[in-house]
């Protein structure tokens, strides 16, 4: 167990290092420098050059990457916060501490002041969606997998395939047209703003619906495949020929086996939801993590982008780890060897 945990943790760190470096490298293609972005479009080229010099932004990629790592780990102070830059960037936590994601050139705020609130908003959205996706997809998947090729299976399958074919922006357009314009019962934007005249709960309905529509069909298909596989296994026959009713057989024998493989898929949806909300948040002007990520990458706000990347990868690796643990709990063949 300890070695397993250690392996996972080191894997996580390794993935984070690789991912953050990749983002760093890819951002090299972006036109415009950190200095230009920090100073804004109206600064003179001379000001930009001076700041570039101060930040040593012309150092080789690898040097700058390690400097960024140093700032993150609290080994060195963030050069952007140096008062001599004249930028007036100050972090109340100080310029040098562990977990310093640096200064967002887009929001002109420390990344740590921006990102966590946004993440919390997204967690609310994704959490609600996840709570709906799990039971819906299990119900759809199990029901259609029970009798492969039956009328119920075919109906549910068509529903699932159709829903997975509707990307978030399209279902956003459809739902807004229906429930905001033709039959105005819900708000078209969800800025989580009490002053808009719509209760917060009503602001969440459409974004959650959009996420659920696009995602649950896919998970239901996975569960269906697993269920079909289980229903073909001989131990199901053993259970039936013991004299069990279908209901008892499904709950007593089929379900647990059928959930082993999709369990990981279900957890992966957390991963998908946390970052897959980009479009949904954009459609509904939702102040979340996904939109922050989008804005940061469009603006070239490398500090925010790196922070968001690290958080995303951390969530991905953590859900993978939980997935493996759950897999072990569900399947005694792995648990007791």
């Amino acid at each position: 167990m300890a070695t397993f945990l250690f392996k996972r943790l080191s894997m996580m760190v390794l993935t984070m290092v690789a991912a953050s470096f990749l983002v760093f490298a890819v951002s090299e293609f972006t036109p415009g420098s950190v200095a230009r972005k920090s100073l804004g479009p109206f600064a003179t080229q001379q000001q930009v050059d001076i700041l570039t010099e101060k930040l040593r932004a012309n150092d080789p990629l690898l040097v700058r990457y390690f400097r960024w790592v140093g700032v993150l780990l609290g080994a060195i102070p963030d050069p952007l916060q140096d008062p001599s830059t004249g930028l007036n960037f100050t972090d109340p936590r100080g310029a040098q501490y562990f977990g310093n994601f640096g200064y967002s050139t887009l929001n002109k705020l420390p990344v740590n002041d921006v990102i966590w609130d946004r993440l919390a908003n997204t967690a609310l959205l994704a959490g609600l969606a996840f709570l709906l996706i799990v039971p819906l997809s299990i119900a759809f998947g199990v029901l259609s997998g029970l009798k492969e090729g039956g009328a119920l299976d075919r109906t549910l399958s068509v529903v699932c395939i159709t829903f997975t074919s509707i990307p978030e922006f399209a279902s956003g357009v459809f739902l807004v047209t229906l429930f905001v314009i033709l039959w105005p019962v819900l708000p078209g934007t969800s800025q989580l703003d009490e002053g808009s005249g719509w209760p917060i709960a009503s602001q969440l309905v459409l974004p959650v619906a959009v996420l659920v529509i696009y995602d649950f069909g896919y998970v239901a298909r996975m569960i269906r495949v697993s269920m079909i596989g289980v229903m073909e296994r001989p131990f199901i026959r053993t259970a039936v020929l013991k004299g069990m009713s279908t209901r008892r057989m499904v709950f007593g024998h089929a379900l647990r086996n059928a959930m082993i493989a999709p369990f990981t898929v279900l957890l992966l949806q957390i991963n998908f939801l946390i970052s897959g909300v980009v479009v949904t948040e954009l459609v509904f002007a939702y102040p979340g993590f996904g939109r922050l990520l989008l804005e940061a990458s469009l603006f070239g706000d490398i500090a925010t982008l790196e922070a968001a990347t690290l958080i995303t990868v951390a969530i991905a690796v953590t859900t993978q780890f939980i997935g493996d643990l759950g897999y072990m709990l569900l399947d005694p063949r792995i648990r007791v060897s």
Partner: protein, 693 residues
């Protein structure tokens, strides 16, 4: 055994409905697909008396398992009973409600399945799965149910029942799993037990123990049995009455001894004559192969279903629909053959040509071969350890042993699919033990070819059947030019008795026997001097098996090819081999000529293996069965002394557990690795005595 049960007490034909426990009349089972309807069982009738053990024998696809599932009312989404009746204990099961069926399943009729591992739910404990039966049917509480489960595990001779209840199926060996399945079936105290190939896939010594257990439990619980199997030997020993099933019909039915002594139907005769037995070898008998193969349900001929494969087929008589199932000979002996009175059973074929020559220089010499697979953490899987044997030109050396004995690993090393850890394999003066296929020169590759076990994986499903044969001819430069290659291909197909039209078919359009013939042709396409045949016929139906083995022997004889024949089937080995090497857990236990091994003193393991073989011949005295205790240990944790010491019935003492046994040399070539002195080994009567006369 119970073969001597009072058969006369049963009068199945007189008033069956009044007395029989299970009565099947005119049963028709269809599977309705989208495009076509397949009639798996067209018209089937038989009955099982209370307390009787009825054997249903047939090859794959004959409809025997479908019959069992029809009795249980479990034919899936597409299957349905389209006619006839199944009466069980006076109650009609055809058209019974789901509720009625539930009350019968597991309680009045229980089932034991092939492949116990997959019949058990992998995520539930043995205890939970067993307890379900009393919980469902006997109205007891959870505690009482667990108690009953533990008691039943004792009854099926599983050690430490309490502990066993908490285990998961994957923690048990195959034999133990099957005992659990049997326990599960018996927990409801059923009146009828359906056994569907209950030992297929188990090692022969484990099979033997399971069969003995079933016989014992049947006596104790007074349960009727419907025993479904393709194995005539098992049926002969376990059943009072036998029905021979072919392509959905019962073609012959009689009391066991009567049926095997005087089989009337040509198919039954063929089936009995095509199985090898310990008492004869290739010099004394040719296996009587039944030509052709079982028709698909949709290609079933009119009249006699066996007609197209029958040597006595008579147009105008045998192809008339509605052949009667008529009495033949003794009471209760029924046969569906219009010519049964006129046809005589074919005599055993005359002995063929002489065997390989022993005095020729060794074609292959394996010495001290060891193969270890490191498993990490310093653990080693010992697949082979210090294995030595040799084969002369044109000789067939058989490697025998149960699963995990290392025989297949050895085959892979000889062919170059794997490499030895140490030791030597000398062929034509070259040591090939550590030469993998890609390192072997073309000439060496050409000279060693292999025939594989699984007909479904031996040919690439994406290519035409002859694809790999052509490729082989071209690669090894046997012929060049398109015309010459095609000519050679036709010769090879003719050699394995396949029509040239088969060459362009996809493997999915061929039967198992045809695929194995293609594989044989492919192996011989390279004109090899050594053929390694790894269980070449074990996946085939018995009637097809005989044809393929005979073919293989013919070609080997003709080409004077040396052959390593790997098999778990001792009777088959007896039939084909010149020399025998018996392996257990990676080590050689015994080796010698076939006559020495099958006719003389034996290693205790060889003895046990031979005693586990059951023959359908009713006139042969029952062998003294040697029940082996325990399970084969894992090749990772091998016993320190003799590998076989943990299961041996002739253990000398502690020395067996601590010291590796010495090699006892009984003759120039007959060696036995055992602590028992030569005199002690010689003192035992041979298990497989040749047939008198």
């Amino acid at each position: 055994m119970t073969a001597a049960a009072p058969l006369a007490a049963f009068q199945p034909t007189s008033t069956p409905a009044a007395t029989s426990l299970l009565e099947i009349r005119g049963l028709r089972v269809e599977f309705r697909g989208k495009a076509e309807t397949v009639v798996a069982v067209p018209d089937l009738s038989f009955s099982v008396m209370p307390g009787e053990s009825y054997g249903l024998v047939g090859e794959s696809g004959c409809g025997k398992s479908t019959t069992a599932m029809a009795i249980m009312g479990y034919l899936g989404e597409t299957g349905m009973i389209a006619g006839g009746s199944i009466r069980f204990d006076g109650q009609e099961l055809v058209g019974a409600s789901a509720r009625q069926l539930r009350a019968i399943r597991g309680r009045r009729i229980a089932m034991v399945y092939q492949d116990p591992m997959s019949a058990l739910n992998p995520v539930k404990t043995i205890g939970a799965q067993l307890a379900e039966v009393p919980l469902l049917h006997l109205g007891v509480g959870r505690e009482e149910a667990m108690h009953m489960a533990a008691a039943m595990l004792d009854d099926v001779r599983l050690p430490d029942a309490r502990d066993m209840l908490k285990r998961y199926p994957h923690q048990l060996s195959g034999g133990q799993q099957q005992r659990v399945v049997i326990a599960m079936a018996l927990l409801g105290r059923p009146a009828l037990l359906l056994l569907d190939e209950p030992t297929t896939g188990l090692d022969v010594t484990v099979e033997s123990a399971v069969i003995d257990l079933i016989a014992e439990l049947r006596r104790r619980y007074a349960t009727s049995l419907l025993f479904i199997s393709h194995n005539l030997g098992l049926i002969a020993e376990s059943c009072d009455r036998v029905g021979i099933m072919y392509s959905g019909e019962i073609v012959e039915e009689a009391a066991t001894a009567e049926l095997f002594r005087t089989p009337r139907h040509p198919y039954t005769q063929g089936l009995i004559d095509c199985i090898p037995d310990l008492a004869s070898d290739k010099r004394s008998r040719v296996l009587a192969a039944i030509p052709g193969h079982i028709p698909l349900p949709q290609d079933r001929p009119a009249g006699c279903v066996f007609g197209p494969r029958c040597a006595s087929f008579l147009a105008g008589a045998c192809d008339q629909p509605g052949l009667p199932f008529e009495p033949a000979g003794e009471a209760g002996h029924l046969v569906r053959c219009v010519r049964w009175g006129e046809i005589a059973r074919a005599p055993h074929a005359p002995p063929p040509k002489p065997a390989g020559d022993r005095d020729a220089p060794a074609a292959i010499e394996v010495s001290d071969l060891t193969k270890l697979y490191p498993l990490g953490a310093g653990r080693m899987l010992k697949a082979n350890e210090a294995v030595s044997f040799g084969a002369a030109k044109a000789e067939i050396v058989a490697l025998v042993g149960e699963s995990g004995c290392g025989k297949s690993t050895l085959a892979r090393i000889v062919t170059g699919l794997d490499r030895a850890t140490s030791g030597e394999i000398s062929m034509a003066g070259v040591d090939v033990a550590k030469l993998q296929a890609r390192a072997r020169p073309r000439e060496l590759l050409r000279s060693v070819q292999m025939i594989f076990q699984n007909p479904d994986s031996t040919l690439n499903p994406s290519h035409a059947a002859a694809f790999s044969i052509r490729r082989s001819i071209k690669k090894f430069g046997i012929r060049s030019g398109k015309g010459a290659i095609e000519g050679r291909l036709r010769e090879l197909l003719d050699m394995v008795r396949l029509s040239p039209s088969i060459a362009e078919r996809k493997p999915s359009q061929l039967s198992g026997g045809q695929k194995q013939r293609i594989a044989i042709a492919r192996a011989f396409a390279a004109d090899p001097s050594l053929i390694v045949a790894d269980e070449p016929v074990s996946a085939l139906d018995v009637s097809v098996q005989a044809a393929v083995v005979t073919l293989l022997l013919d070609i080997q004889q003709d080409k004077r090819t040396t052959m390593l024949f790997i098999s778990h089937d001792l009777a088959l080995v007896r039939h084909v081999a010149d020399k025998v090497v018996v392996m257990y857990l990676g080590k050689v236990m015994e080796k010698g000529t076939a006559d020495e091994v099958f006719g003389g003193a034996n290693h205790p393991y060889t003895e046990a293996l031979m005693s586990a073989i059951r023959s359908p011949n009713p006139d042969r005295p029952a062998r003294n069965r040697i029940p082996l205790t325990g399970e084969t240990p894992s090749p990772v944790n091998v016993p320190a002394g003799c590998r076989f010491s943990t299961r041996c019935h002739r253990k000398v003492g502690a020395i067996c557990d601590t010291q590796p046994p010495p090699i006892r040399r009984l003759s120039a070539g007959h060696e036995i690795a055992c602590h028992i002195e030569i005199d002690g080994l010689m003192a035992r009567p041979p298990v497989a005595a040749p047939e008198p006369g």
